[in-house]
Amino acid sequence: MRNKFIEKLVQKAEIDESIVLIVGDLGYNVIEPFSEKFPNRFFNAGICEQSMASMAAGMASEGHKVFIYSIANFPTFRCAEQIRNDICYHNLDVTIVSVGGGLAYGNLGYSHHAIQDYGLIRLFPEISILSPGDPIEVDKLFEYIMNETTPKYLRLRKSGETNYTNYNENISAGRWNKIIAGKSIFLTTGNGLEIAQRLRLENKKFSDFGIYTCPIWGPKVSNLQVEQIKQFEVVISVEDHLRDCGFGSWLNESCESNNVKNKLYNSYLDKSIIGKVGSEDYLLENFKIEY
């Protein structure tokens, strides 16, 4: 995913001179195609996430389309107030890119497990959450990223992901995309896509379930969810994030006042995962399905 991100960013930067990339001293063997091609629009802010986020806001206020790039919780929790006050309150064209979403850095320990980031980011009404499930979705999301001038959070996994999706149409904010048809479905965001594929294969109970992805979501598109949920018998949200304040929690809140609650179930990382280390596969044993 991260390689697809840089490939697309380089493509877009060739035609859009306003694009700037700032990294928080991370991105070795990933960001070089951009930094080598556009040295005047590439900055390594150093290990300075707070000033990196404020600086991004300042640059966006002068007309730059700014991408800040780091991993796990560093470009979110470390600079939460800068995201809130400087980027979001001023509604600026900054895309916060975090690599290592979920458990991609599973054996690096709790500091590197990005399993509460949705919760933080979806507190800010101005921002859109972009959480692709495979490199194809990263590619398709760029259409939205380029057209949208408000704050965005792009959560990437890492590298080597399988492509599951096959798009004929553009991705629309808040709209679900069919991967596998079904009367009952898994609705995934981010790496939930791969988890749903496994659940479907490994558990007979879910073998007839379809899979849909929702790669662009957040407070701005809550109003689009009920009508989509109504089209299915059962919808199980899938995410590699804690239950509290995550994707499923957002769906639940989005249809609180409507009678679709009996259709909607959540699956997520159980909080028992906190403090455990290991491969992503090992850690996903802490995955919990409420169905």
Partner: protein
Amino acid sequence: MKSNSLAKQIRIESLKMVNRISGSHIGSALSITDILAVLYTEILNIDPSNPDLITRDRLILSKGHACSSLYACLALKGFYNIEDLKTYGKDSSNLMNHVSHKVPGVEFSTGSLGHGLPFGLGKANSLKIQKNSSQVFIIIGDGELSEGSNFEAMLFAAHHDLDNLNLIIDYNNLQSLTTVGKTLNILPIKEKFTSFGWEYYECDGHNHNELKLCLTKSYNSKNGKPKVIVANTIKGKGVSYMENKVEWHYKSPDENLLRQAIKEIENAK
């Protein structure tokens, strides 16, 4: 209007604003009044009738709690109607009690400290890339310097030769509870900045001739170094009973005290 007259008017309007709503932070507002008056009469290239012009200089008030001075200054310079100041801090007003970007002429909302310099750094960086010769000025408090984000920005500004960045430190030596020295000693400021690769200036933050000289030098200096100006100021400057008193970070003058304050300001040289 000359800078001295503007400063007097800013002080009077600012006092009235705070009095109307029993607001706080008047001491901080009076501390930066002369800096603002000199910036807006002698230094900054900003057109009040076209405050978003791309060629304007940018001013960021990082110590957003001192906003009554900036609001008064902008109104007196014609960015908006002076009558609007009467809405300061009232229901549905844009003139909230920490500086707001919804007010014409204000670049950036602050209130939480340690945001103005890194944000201004971004502006300066963009202007440099765009080959725009506008300058960025940021006013920051001395107590505010202890926010770590400032030190991050200090490193970046020097590393990237941002000589279009001018940081004015309102050095009144009083913060929320007591003096800066007793809270978390920030001295020596000069050595901190020069060792980080910044150019250093210092002046009396209430002497308009000194301020003009110092800020002009800073404005014109383009040797690859970001610039810091320590303005030695007095919290509550111009009102005898407020000067150097920490309680005027919080208190508001009643009608009698307001009359006394205005009289002192009008009678000052």
